[in-house]
Amino acid sequence: MTKITNVLIVGVGGQGVILASEILTEIAMRFGMDAKKSEVHGMAQRGGAVSSHVRFGPKVFSPLIGVGDADVLLAFEALEAVRWAHYTNKDSKILANDLRLIPTTAFLSKGTTYPDDPFAELEKSGYHADKIPADQIAKDLGNVRLANTILLGALSKHLDVPEEIWLKTIEARVPKKTIELNREAFQRGRSFNSKAK
């Protein structure tokens, strides 16, 4: 791999976007690549939109992905996929959690409202997002916190890094007694086919 891979991970404060991007950066590092991760936090836990830029390759200079230059956009929440879609291009992949978190200020907003279907909104503007029902799968597995691992599993399919490095890194980051469940969650995300009905 000579090219630099750009992954933009977005969501809402408290969803685990920063942890997920940290895991991805570590995965790239374990794969022997130069890696940089960048985000701005501080006010994130107070319900704001969060975005984290991860870049890896033989040598990375810029810690930020330019607009239109993301290879993969991974959204932990559907509206956030809409917000950051312009960071992708026609060759990019958009993966979005099928979850709607309506901001508390929605009722105050005079113009823009929360879209009825953020995925349809994206299609209308020429973007396509794979819909990952991560929260639903996590609930099926018995623990909503597994949604992050499911989303990382879905992401793993689109990045050229061996599966065992993903698993090893995730296992080192989760509580010991949840390792098996996280493996399962990762596989469910990795094998999820958004086109299957």
Binding site: E22, E26, M29, K36, G42, G66, V67, G68, P103
Partner: protein, 594 residues
């Protein structure tokens, strides 16, 4: 060992490696994580000081004692610390001294975006600008050596982008063993009265000339000669962006940027056809390089505002007639409902500002989470200037007679102890008709929950005497003072209205812990009785993330609300504003009455 470290963490590890045993700071984004990482390393002492001026004074003491010393702060903290710094360059050091200035171009979490490189030059402090975490790690040690060799405090300046980005760092396993030199009386060096300060100022210029000579050959300056049609001179994070966008250009990347290596710059400029300066914010390099008589451009393309993100820089390079490797597809973002930060569920500030809003006061704000109350739906904070400014601002308005409403200052506990006490002294001394609300949530919340003199704990985790805010207020001469729980909104509203009638200053201390720090607090979540909810929206206007609208409409045709049980902490502020009494604690099903 390779580690993935943020710029802040790299500073902490680098300082530890270089034998720093003593670190002090006042928290401030994006610098706070430096000491939070440093305090976890073995064999060190680290502390939170009440403010940045005190931190620098304590750091000067530590340096006088001969210890290698680290003092960290955000850019605006350096303003607070300016007084000791401007003279510390005259006296010079004993133990090496590093001042970290974490600047915030783009104002991600700040009230201004001042460029503190100018400060280093103003004070006469050698200036280092790392461009990634590895350099942040290495420059602390280089800086300490420079500091001890040239008898000067050294500023390491970087920005939010470096502070909060993680990159790989080679971390040494062992710390250097630096002997404590000990304090020695040397009045010609340390007593800055005119008879000694005059020769020390002269000496400062000589020391800076020595650093400049060293800057010419410092390993922190790097030259990459490639295509000589264009030569870029840059420093810090902008190097990373421009290096990627102009992969074939020649680069002079400066790590030591005050004093500038004039000969090196001349040599580089002589070898390229055109010199381009790429820097964020002020034309710091450009003006000095121009003053050397070297033809160059930069700011006319990049501007002086915010961060130089890849897309902004690509546009700037295009304007400069160059072809950057990355052409941003300037697709406009899709319209998306904004998600502004809001006060957390259960936050005591929500209660305070809900009561305060009812009284119709002019409210002078300060720095903290409560600045968010300036925004909808609370809209009850009307100013925000800098740490500690609220009380002085309120006194000024009251004294000038510019408000026909009650004049209120709001200030957090940590901010009050930082620089609010002198403002209160002013209010007492000059008998101003102001009400000062001290929002005591017993933590420095905004920056992520740091201890301070009022919390009873130190950064090292030991117990500390807990300063009593009421005693401070009484001792400066406050006669009218309330201490109350803001969640009792009726009492707070009454106290506010009573305080407005007083001739002279009054203080209301609202006491209720932050819901996140030091530990997350949660009681029984509340529920909405859909039979009683009339959809009036009063609860929505307290701006709590736990209150959501539903599809169900009331008789008035308005959407009824529900409460997210995961988010709700049971603070009851929404219940207080609910006229039909629809918001209650759940009735336990097991409790049945005959």
């Amino acid at each position: 060992m390779k580690k993935l470290l943020s710029g802040d963490e790299a500073i902490a590890y680098g300082a530890w490696r270089a034998g720093v045993k003593f670190a002090t700071a006042y928290p401030g984004t994006p610098s706070t994580e430096i000491l939070e990482a440093f305090v976890r390393l073995p064999g060190i002492y680290a502390e939170w000081a009440p403010n940045e001026k005190v931190a620098v004074e304590v750091g000067i003491g530590s340096s006088m004692a001969g210890a290698r010393t680290l003092v960290t702060m955000k850019h605006v903290g350096v303003n607070v610390a300016a007084d000791p710094l401007m003279t510390f360059t005259y006296t010079g050091v004993n133990g090496g001294f590093i001042l970290i200035s974490a600047d915030d171009p783009e104002m991600h979490s700040s009230q201004n975006e001042q460029d503190n490189r100018i400060f280093a030059r103003f004070a006469g402090m050698p200036l280092l600008e790392p461009a990634d975490s590895q350099e942040a790690y290495d420059y602390v040690e280089h800086g300490l050596e420079l500091s001890e060799k040239h008898d000067l405090p050294v500023m390491v300046r970087f920005t939010t982008r470096l502070a909060h980005s993680k990159t790989l760092v080679n971390v040494e396993e062992k710390a250097l063993d630096k002997e404590l030199r000990g304090f020695k009386r040397d009045i010609k060096k340390f007593v800055m009265m005119p008879m000694y300060a005059i020769p020390r100022h002269k000496d400062l210029l000589k020391r800076l000339a020595d650093v400049q000579a060293e800057a010419e050959t410092s390993p922190m300056q790097t030259v990459e000669m490639q295509d000589t049609d264009i030569g870029v001179i840059t420093s810090g994070i902008p190097y990373q962006f421009v290096r990627e966008l102009l992969p074939d250009a020649s680069f002079l990347k400066l790590g030591l940027t005050y004093p500038l290596p004039e000969k090196m710059i001349r040599r580089f400029a002589g070898e390229v056809k055109r010199v381009l300066i790429i820097e964020e914010l002020e034309p710091y390099l450009e003006e000095q390089i121009r003053a050397m008589g070297i033809e160059c451009t930069g700011k006319e393309f990049t501007g002086r505002l915010g961060e130089l993100t890849p897309e902004r820089l690509a546009v700037a390079l295009g304007k400069a007639g160059l072809k950057p490797s990355f052409h941003p597809v300037q697709t406009p973002p899709l319209p998306a409902l904004s998600r502004p930060p809001v006060l957390c569920p259960g936050c005591p500030h929500r209660a305070t500002f809900t009561a305060l809003k009812k009284t119709g006061a002019h409210v002078f704000g300060d720095i903290g989470c409560y600045t968010l109350a300036a925004l909808p739906p609370l809209e009850t904070v009307h100013t925000c200037v800098c740490m500690g400014a609220s009380i002085g601002n309120a006194v000024g308005v009251a004294k000038a007679g510019g408000s026909q409403r009650p004049v209120v200052a709001v200030i957090g506990d940590s901010t009050f102890l930082h620089s609010g006490i002198t403002g209160l002294l002013e209010a007492v001394y000059n008998n101003a008709n102001v009400t000062v609300i001290i929002l005591d949530n017993t933590i420095t919340a905004m920056t992520g929950g740091q201890q301070h003199p009022g919390t009873g704990k130190t950064l090292m985790g030991t117990d500390a005497p807990k300063v009593d805010i009421e005693t401070i207020c009484r001792s400066v001469g406050i006669k009218h003072l309330w201490r109350l729980d803001p969640m009792r909104l009726n009492e707070l509203e009454t106290a506010l209205r009573d305080s407005y009638k007083i001739d002279g200053p009054a203080v209301i201390i609202t006491e209720y812990p932050c819901q996140l720090y030091p530990t997350r607090l949660k009681r029984i979540p509340m529920v909405v009785d859909p039979e009683l909810c009339n959809g009036c929206g009063a609860c929505l206007r307290v701006g709590c993330p736990a209150i959501l609208t539903t599809e169900e409409l009331s008789a008035e045709g308005l959407p009824k609300v529900t409460i997210d049980a995961d988010l709700c902490t049971g603070c009851e502020v929404c219940a207080w504003v609910c006229k039909p009494d629809a918001i209650k604690f759940p009735v336990s099903e097991e409790v049945e009455h005959d």
